[in-house]
């Protein structure tokens, strides 16, 4: 079973305890910036009076993990999408490709790495909740099994249809994510991406990449065949010319 978070923006008071706890749990340098960076993996932004947390959604089939040429980003069976800084070559394809704009880079360092929320993979492996969920005073960020969180989110919407927009963000975005969100106003108004495809994005490139072995075989044979035929044609032409020469 995989775990996740449910963030309910209607319950968030914007205290920022999650950001501070994240910094501490992950050994990130202060200060807490006003938007997510390679050093600040989660923030609470106030958008038109609504408090919205920014963090990685931990896709079921992460775009970042699929595009990484050296498999520095991987999805763990427990849910977190984690990052191995020792492998990373710094191509920044993850930053370019993530449909949610999550991974960030250390632009100010000569030896930079990527920074993004890792769903406190170490704590989760020990059976603990993420630091942000553990510290949240109102329960706006809830940690649990993803299936249970989906159920909880749907129950909340059903119980208070007037409070919530009738959509659990993350239930199908990019093929489904481990982090889910609820809101009282349309998600696009909160600066959340609503044009994200409902299918896992890695399929788009895998459709092409998976055909490469067959393509190489067929194309190779074709090229050799053309070479063979054109070469033989030249040989025959030369031979016939020589024949005509001797006949004369």
């Amino acid at each position: 079973m995989s775990v996740g978070l449910l963030f309910d923006s209607t319950r968030c008071i914007g205290c920022g305890a999650c950001s501070a706890a994240c910094k501490e749990a992950n050994g990130l340098p202060l200060p807490i910036e006003d938007h997510t960076t390679a050093y600040t993996w989660t923030v609470v932004e106030n958008v038109g009076g609504v408090n919205v947390r920014r963090l990685c959604f931990h896709c079921a089939e992460p775009t970042c993990a699929s595009v990484c040429p050296v498999a520095a980003l991987t999805k763990t069976p427990q849910g977190p999408v984690v990052y191995d800084a020792e492998r990373c070559i710094g191509c920044r394809y993850c930053i370019m490709a993530c449909p949610f704009g999550v991974p960030k880079y250390q632009w100010d360092r000569p030896i930079p790495i990527v920074g993004k929320c890792i769903l406190c993979a170490g704590r989760v492996a020990q059976g603990l909740p993420t630091a942000c969920a553990a510290v949240c005073p109102t329960g706006a960020t809830l940690f649990g099994e993803r299936d249970a969180l989906v159920h909880e989110a749907q129950t909340r919407i059903a119980a208070n249809p007037a409070t919530y927009v009738d959509h659990v963000y993350g239930i199908s975005e990019a093929g489904g994510t481990s982090v889910l969100a609820l809101a009282g106003v349309p998600f696009e108004r909160l600066g959340m991406k609503t044009n994200v495809p409902r299918q896992p994005l890695p399929l788009l490139t895998w459709q092409v990449l998976s055909k490469i072995p067959a393509f190489v075989a067929v194309w190779g044979v074709c090229l050799f065949g053309i070479h063979w035929i054109t070469k033989r044609r030249d040989e025959v032409r030369e031979y016939e010319a020589a024949q005509r020469e001797t006949e004369r």
């Binding site: 050296v70 632009w107 990449l209």
Partner: protein, 382 residues
Amino acid sequence: MTVAVAVRRVVRRMGFWEAVLAVILVLFGGVTVLRFTRGLGAVTNLNDKFPWGLWIGFDVLCGVGLAAGAFTLTAIVHIFNLRRFEPIVRPTVLTGFLGYVLVIIGLLFDLGQPWRIWHALVFWNPHSVMFEVAWCVMLYTTVLGLEFAPVVFEGLRLERPRRLLRSVATPLVIIGVILSTLHQSSLGSLYLIVPSKLHPLWYTPLLPYLFLISAVGAGIGMTILESYLSERAFGRRLEMDLLEPLARAMVVALGVYGLLRVIVIWKNGAVALLRHPEYEGWMFLLELCVGVVLPVGLLLIERVRMNPTGLVVAAIFAVLGFVMNRLNVSVTGMEHAAGIQYVPSWMEVTVSLGLVALGFALFAVAVRYLPIFPQPARGRVG
């Protein structure tokens, strides 16, 4: 003799273009130091919203594409056995080889930790297009090196290794064509995964095919352009009898490409955006005009095609349009989703210009010391 005197003597003997080259290369050296001591943020205008800029859009996407003449020409000569094109194979393979070397140097600037470039060899992720790109760059640069090596061996009068490479020439060409097909298309595939970010005038599932076909067109354009520059710089004659049929092949490639582009925006509905074009719309129209309509239109006229100047002008348009396309895909088309405008810093531009300058310089050096052209060059180098 002191250094100062030597420098002054060299400077006095320089022509205009050598001086330009020297200035660019000096600035290039300075920026290189800054890049590796201060980091990417200090020299580029890249940021978390716009992580790929000029170095990917121009140095890599255009560098690889414009090197496509090499696989096209080697296929024509070795696979289709059209031996009469042999005289322009060497300079074209040299252009391709230098192009790939410069792409790798460009990548070393762009990668956050370039000393780890070998990681793709040991840490595999076959689901990543970038993984395919990395392997294609490495393997095809090796193949181009081996395809060009006989010229070096000939220059050094090393008969045995030359004969050895000659015996595997055909398999090498076949491997090179396969790798090129994969590599050119994979650069388009890089953008398949950003349907919500790349503007609909450029995003299409056909991106890998479009990148391949346009590279064939622009690669031929580069071959024509490079023949023209060689004529100017090294006092050679223009091989019109070879370039004119190549130009017709370019018309076919660009024609197919242009048609596909139109069909794509027709089918995905983006054509409606051209009725009242905004920034992206104008850039699209300009790109298609310069890169397809003008060169195809010009080259369809026999009088233009047969005329060296006409031919070269059309080739310049094709190459320019190709560069615009790659920059539109990597920059213009990504700006709206990023929510910001990206303009490269002067230091980014310096590095890109420096790489081009380096390419010209290395080509000139190679022509001077190696048997690149069939008969010895008459004019002065540079």
